[in-house]
């Protein structure tokens, strides 16, 4: 067993840290307040290859391992979770999904521009009445011979406006229930697609979240991923990897808040000494450090399993559930350590606390993760 990172992994971690501190930090508060998408920053992130960092270089990806991805996600999320979630959706869901299950023609046509960062992807699964229960898809993909006709509404779609390539999960054969679901690659500029307004969210406000409406959208048959009816297993397998991304994001939110709280505790004085010297504060920081270390180990374990081509679904669910809940606890304590300053925007920790909440909800709530974990105990 080896807990040491390779020089390459350390280099990627440092590159992500430098990018976050040099590029994202300068206007993260302002973008959060204005719900403004980080257009220029995302362009630079894409140029550096962070959006397709695990993809095979023959499809213009970075060829890095999942450990490197966890390290990069943590560093970006310490500063700006809105950018981190874009990175997670592109890497873990859209790109991984097409690379793993798409055919060669789909990889040449859709994967290459996504992996090289020229295009952004979005993963359209959630619906107004199908969030955690992904089997209840109301969006339909009617089989019309040489194409599918897509109708319905998708909700809470990350990158909905910035993306060019959608992967849409939709029902083709309702009588077959979840075995009738398909995954389709859809050009966002297709006729019949309209977007709802930008969601005015509690956190990750500069992430580009919309509902997406499909009205008789024609999708060529060759854009279906896998065999007819493969959509549900496709979505579930893809989300297994997605959990590693969101777990690492939650980890980064927690460690970002922790680092700020630790620094503040060594500068801020109360009762004649730095507040770190008060045991009530030192013990909080100690608890936070242990939880973050636990979370990091869970993320890295899940990533390692994935890199070894071993089953990682339970490990990624554990990492996602633990890190999301842990991030909520750690950021809440960070705000407490900052006191009044923690409740105002300029010190970042209140934003990190708002961001942490979403990690308990999206890409499978903490409760859904517990279903996955508990079911695995019986196997």
């Amino acid at each position: 067993m080896n807990f040491e990172f390779t020089e390459e992994q350390k280099m990627i971690q440092q590159a992500a840290k430098d990018f976050a501190e040099r590029e994202l930090l300068q206007d993260v508060i302002e973008r959060d307040e204005k719900s403004e998408f980080a257009t220029e920053h995302v362009k630079k992130l894409a140029e550096l290859g962070f959006l397709g960092m695990m993809t095979d270089p023959k499809y213009d990806g970075g060829g890095m391992d999942t450990i490197s991805y966890v390290l990069a996600m943590e560093e970006i999320s310490k500063i700006d979770s809105s950018v981190a979630v874009l990175m997670s959706v592109c890497n873990s869901l859209v790109i991984w999904g097409i690379e793993t299950y798409g055919n060669e023609e789909q990889k040449q046509k859709f994967l290459r521009p996504l992996a090289s960062g020229q295009k952004i992807g979005a993963f359209l699964l959630s619906e107004p009445e199908a969030g955690s229960d992904a089997t209840s898809q109301r969006t339909t993909a009617e089989d019309k011979g040489d194409h599918y006709l897509l109708n319905g509404t998708k909700n809470w779609i990350t990158n909905a406006n910035s993306a060019s390539t959608y992967i849409v999960i939709a029902q083709t054969n309702p009588e077959k229930k979840h075995k009738g679901i398909n995954a389709l690659i859809v050009d966002k500029n297709s006729a019949g697609i309209t977007l709802g307004p930008h969601e005015n969210k509690m956190g990750m406000r500069s992430s580009d979240t919309h509902s997406v409406m499909f009205n008789d959208v024609k999708v060529p048959k060759e854009n279906r991923i896998g065999e007819d009816g493969f959509g549900f297993p496709f979505a579930m397998k893809t989300l297994e990897g997605g959990r590693i991304g969101i777990a690492s994001q939650a980890l980064g939110i927690a460690s970002g808040a922790f680092e700020r709280a630790l620094k503040y505790s060594m500068e801020r004085k109360a009762f004649g000494t730095e507040i770190f010297n008060h045991q009530s504060v030192a013990f909080k920081l100690s608890d936070m450090a242990v939880k973050i270390e636990n979370g990091r180990n869970l993320c890295l374990k899940a990533a390692w399993l994935k890199d070894q081509h071993l089953p990682y679904g339970t490990a990624s669910a554990m990492a996602k559930q633990y890190c999301a809940d842990m991030a909520m606890e750690v950021t809440t304590e960070a705000v407490q350590i900052f006191g009044g300053y923690g409740y105002v925007r300029e010190y970042h920790v209140e934003r990190l606390m708002r961001e942490a909440k979403l990690t308990q909800i999206y890409e499978g709530t903490s409760e859904v993760q517990k279903i996955v974990i508990s079911r695995s105990l019986l196997k």
Partner: protein, 249 residues
């Protein structure tokens, strides 16, 4: 043109400095090492010129005097965009050792432009660039804050008291660069990091050189005194403190 950038392996600038062996050696435990910031800016400028003027710059090589532990720093330079790396297998004991080792290797190669950072962020010696040009019998330009190649000719700008000086020099030469030569160092891309795996990194055995300097002791600066706040209306107290305590007036 072939450009060589000399890079030092230095502790990260946020490192907490500690000494060992009765304060005669730097404690390297747990230290993260980086490319010396001035050298990294020199490399950045060389890469910018290569990108902007395809064909003008044939190759960029980085060279370091150090033991095997410095190779990650050289790989970082390759990940940023340098084409080749050279490591001279010697401990960089002092400026003369480093300059001598560099001069020996450079004299056997054919570089047109040799760039060095003005100093290293650990020892702040400001010596290697000058010594190197002397050992190589090449012209040198110090405090270079801008470097360009126009119509095949090298144009350098130096910061001087109250202004800026533009200098031209025949090649080969040694350019000793300071901050301003590039805005900020490059962040390596995923492709760059991946490509660095396969770029050549040549290890050259060191020659015998003299070590002219012996470090007697190192001392940390005194901790910063606590900040005293004085009422803006109480100028008299401020003057007294500056005179009696700080002893600056």
């Amino acid at each position: 043109m072939k450009i060589l950038v000399c890079i030092s392996n230095v502790p990260d600038t946020t490192t907490k400095i500690k000494f060992t062996d009765n304060n005669t050696a730097f404690d390297q435990a747990g230290v993260q090492w980086i490319i010396n910031p001035w050298d990294e800016l020199a490399l950045t400028r060389a890469l910018d010129i290569k990108d902007a003027q395809a064909g003008m710059v044939e190759e960029i090589t980085v060279i370091n005097v150090g033991l095997a532990a410095t190779e990650p720093t050289i790989r970082k330079a390759l990940a940023i965009g340098a084409d080749k790396g050279i490591r001279i297998n010697a401990e960089p004991k002092d400026a003369f050792t480093v300059a001598s080792q560099l001069a020996d290797v450079i004299s056997k190669e054919s570089f047109d432009i040799i760039l060095c950072g003005i100093e290293s962020s650990d020892s702040n010696g400001n010596n290697v660039g000058g010594m190197l040009s002397e050992l190589l019998d090449m012209p040198s330009v110090s405090s270079v804050s801008h470097f360009d190649i126009k119509d095949g000719k090298v144009e350098l700008k130096r910061e001087i008291d109250g202004g800026q000086e533009t200098v031209s020099t025949p090649i080969p030469f040694v350019g000793i660069v300071q901050k301003g030569i590039a805005k900020e160092p490059r962040i390596p891309s995923m492709r760059g990091i991946m490509g660095a795996r396969t770029k050549p990194l040549q290890v050259i055995e060191a020659i015998q050189t003299e070590t002219l300097t012996e470090f007697a002791t190192y001392d940390l600066p005194k901790p910063k005194a606590a900040c005293k706040k004085i009422d803006p209306d109480n100028v008299k107290e401020l003057v007294q403190l500056l005179h009696n305590e700080a002893k600056v007036i």
